[in-house]
Amino acid sequence: MSFNVVIDKTEKLAEDIYFLRLKSERVSGKAVPGQFVNIKCSDGLNTFLRRPISILRTNPVENTFDIVYMIRGKGTRLLSCLNSGDTIDCMGPLGKGFTLPEKGEKICVIGGGIGVFPLLFLLEKSIDVNKTAFLGFRTKDLIVLQKDFEQVTNRLIISTDDGSFGENGLITKPFLDFLETEKPDRVYTCGPLPMMKTVAEVCIEKNIFCEVSMEQRMGCGIGACLVCACKTRHNDDYEYERICRDGPVFGAEKIVF
């Protein structure tokens, strides 16, 4: 088995935000929303560890899958230098994904920043479901994939921290307002911790099914090394579970924020 996959397409979506379409029968055939791939961003020692990136969408017919990433450091910067036709070493699909909604349910997704990407895949795979998406970005120029989200949602609310587009301020605000009048069957969230915490708390309070997708630095990515610890509730105590294997998606009530 080898993890080499060929880059089918690259695109710069915004400043420091890049799209990659990769050829892989394995990933495109098996991946479910919320899962990720673990990518070696450079041969050899320039970046030692793999980098986890969520799967944005799969195309099992074309045997491709997509990811979108933001340049955050050395690894993602090196990734952004690759071109279509190049090969990268990519393990996956990895992790436990979202629980898909049942037909006829009403769901909400709340995403912030790079946390929006796994939610697109979830929305695409949620068929015959009423879908509202709340997406928060820092500023207008960082808004990506708006059209893609529009196509798979019944309602799309966007906010920017600086008010340069959509609602002004944190995305939790319109979501909390929404909950004043509506009660979704399921809520899914991915993004900055404070955002997920707010969403999780209100859903627990209102007894709404809620799943969160967590982030942590990883070693092996497959569950063997225990470095990707996420503090979770167990009766009156806590445990550290593995984000790479027990997650990245957890029931909101489990997380000790």
């Binding site: 088995m1 560890l49 070693g219 569950g223 063997a224 090394c225 610890a229 550290y240």
Partner: protein, 302 residues
């Protein structure tokens, strides 16, 4: 036919490739990637008497050609290991090495005693974990500490006893000799070098635990040096590790004096590293006319 088998004071390995403790869990995850029957042995995640939760995250930082980790011995405890993990591991034809750690000499003895009556193949004393404040760090950094815990465990341990040494010491040969003199059947080295990394943007240490253990290619020259020194200083077999990423690295350790090698961190990047290393060693032996892997141990030329 190449003879790859090694005998480490009673611990029989069909080949010299062992998965290093803490990087391989209890084998379940990697068993999805390759056939564990191919391994000489597996040193399981460090076990304590009671379950341990481990340290606060982040628990890993990437550093030049290496990583820092501060897992802090998260493990389900020795009883859960016996109940849930030994039966799984025993399905494979590979040696089970139980890596154990404790806060007190009594702890070590209890665990060793309990494990002595189970179906494992050897016990590896982790006297050198840099991520845990009390306990094993203390023992591993002085010869007296090593003597104390090793001789106590020796009395109750019915399995081949490997003592795993910390590199964070002035003179590694002293530590190895203390282990040998106290009844160890073998020493394994190196555990991780104590290190630290700071995120200059947030101005905070990257690890939740502030400091952590350095492993991966970066430490290889230090590890090779220590294996070389130790294998000259003691008569018991030496198991070498620290930064092995391929067959060339493994052969370097074996030439330096190791009878077997452990591989850990490299598996995070390449889950097939153990198998590929074994294949590469076979090739090297064929090219260089070695029939037995044991002939390669310490086979430096002048």
């Amino acid at each position: 036919m190449l003879d790859l088998s090694v005998n480490i004071a009673g611990l029989k390995l069909k080949n010299p490739i062992i998965a290093a403790s803490g990087t391989f869990g209890f084998g379940r995850e990697f068993s999805e990637y390759f056939d564990l029957n191919l391994l000489g042995g597996i040193s399981v995640k460090g076990l304590t008497l009671k379950p341990r939760k481990g340290n606060e995250p982040p628990r890993i930082a990437e550093t030049p050609a290496g990583i820092l980790n501060s897992v802090g011995l998260q493990n389900p405890g020795v009883y859960s290991f016996i109940k849930d993990e030994i039966p799984f591991l025993r399905r494979f034809d590979t040696a089970i090495i139980a890596n154990i750690a404790g806060n007190t000499v009594d702890d070590y003895c209890r665990i060793a005693e309990i494990l002595s009556d189970t179906d494992i193949d050897a016990i590896e004393l982790n006297v050198s974990c840099p991520n845990v404040k009390e306990g094993c760090l203390m023992f591993g950094s002085t010869a007296e500490g090593i003597s104390k815990v090793t001789s106590a465990v020796r009395k109750v341990c019915k399995k081949p006893l490997i003592v795993k040494l910390s590199p964070n010491v002035t003179d590694i040969t002293e530590m190895a000799k203390a282990a040998e003199d106290s009844g160890a059947d073998s020493v394994s080295l190196i555990n991780t070098l104590l290190g630290m990394a700071i995120d200059i943007k947030s101005r905070k240490p990257i690890l939740g635990n502030i400091m952590g253990g350095l492993s991966g290619p970066a430490v290889k020259p230090v590890a090779v040096r220590m294996v070389y020194q130790v294998s000259k200083a003691v008569k018991i077999p030496v198991i070498g590790m620290g930064g092995i990423s391929d067959a060339d690295d493994a052969i370097e350790f074996i030439l330096a004096g190791a009878s077997a090698v452990m591989i850990g961190t490299a598996g995070f990047v390449n889950p097939y590293v153990w198998v590929e290393t074994l294949d590469g060693i076979k090739q090297y032996m064929e090219q260089h006319g070695f029939k037995k892997i044991s002939e390669l141990t310490g086979a430096l030329l002048d």
